[in-house]
Symmetry: C2
Subunit: 221 residues, 2 copies
Amino acid sequence: MRMAELSERSGIPTATIKYYLREGLLRPGHRVTATQSAYDDGHLRRLRLVRALIQVGRMPVATAREVLAAIEDDSIDHHSRLGAAIAALPADGALDAAFDADELDEETRAARRRAEELFEELGWTHAPARGASEAAYRVLVGAIAGLARTGYPCEVSDLLPYGRLADQLGVTDIDMVERYGDPYEQVEAAVALTVLYEPVLLSLRRLAEAEESNRRYSSRS
Amino acid sequence: MRMAELSERSGIPTATIKYYLREGLLRPGHRVTATQSAYDDGHLRRLRLVRALIQVGRMPVATAREVLAAIEDDSIDHHSRLGAAIAALPADGALDAAFDADELDEETRAARRRAEELFEELGWTHAPARGASEAAYRVLVGAIAGLARTGYPCEVSDLLPYGRLADQLGVTDIDMVERYGDPYEQVEAAVALTVLYEPVLLSLRRLAEAEESNRRYSSRS
DNA sequence: ATCCCTTGGAGAGTGCCACTATCCAATCAT
DNA sequence: ATGATTGGATAGTGGCACTCTCCAAGGGAT
């Protein structure tokens, strides 16, 4: 198919597709003539993934490019690639304050200790090992520090329930990824599902809060 | 305290504080002279909450103003205010496609049915009643539709585990809110904790995915 | 009292960044 | 032949959270 059709099928304007091509988020089509290229279903798939990353995942274009690169990195084995792709996902830009500097923030150091302790309680043996290299780890520490700074300090005992729920969440997520047979598809699914289920999870949480609040306080209905 | 001190203690530049004042996110200080106002700890608290909403919750200034208004709305009782404040929180701007229009999107209608069915399975009797008025509900439906459009259609059976986890999450959240005695503080805590625990939850999920992936595939360590 | 600093307030400007609009020459479709 | 389309390059737009610049009216130390 040509660009016009790709645009129509994806619902994305050609100008934007050109932009993605320029930014390296989408591979150039297969060259047919000097002035035309052909795009296939792979391009369509990719385009939808790009949209998911950028619009749902709210990640900057540059980051999306890195994530996509991780998905396609043939130089590492399947399992590592899966881990690498998930690790490349930003968890929350605002909180990802790289503390590789002098790290003189007392609040942050306390948060870090709390995170380590949480991992231990959860029996997570792999996560701490990777350490600060992982965006998710940095965001977690930043978020714990932010909670304290905002006046809601949280103990390990406060975090534990969330950790346990996250643990189950991870199992559920990986279960879903394993439905896909093809290794490449698995990696892509891991990225897509991680990002796309995020709003599902967060909105369900809001609804659950409302539900629970009603359960406790509402006499009527 | 005067603005300079408020700025120093909160770590927010005076120019930004002035901006928040202008936008109505922060109440004017208590007028001392014709050219000076005094700010108190309440202003400091509020300022930190504003930062949490805008930077961590990534919500637009206008939305933050609405959330804050809901917190302070004295015209309704405590419990309703708690619900209203949480309902005012946007769950994900990009997916909040108000379908109050003609709603002719087939995908969206299917998603809506799926959401209703999910609520039924979960035994959530309150959430569906509120219906489309709640941002979280609209986001949920939008997210389910988005999943389908991206090529990852999800059945109710896929959503159920997430729903059950969210249910527990809601209980945990409200437990935490109930630690605060003062009604006003409870509402503020509900908003703050909902927003501030979001990155905690999402980053823990990433780490849990990595952990689970390692558990399954890693022979070494 | 004086002299410089700070304050609240208002308006315009900045920087970022995803996208979009405009052109263009080469080529395709008919 | 001829009007539309394509890939490509370049410049522009819009939204939005700030941030800068002024300014007149007070303060505070001496």
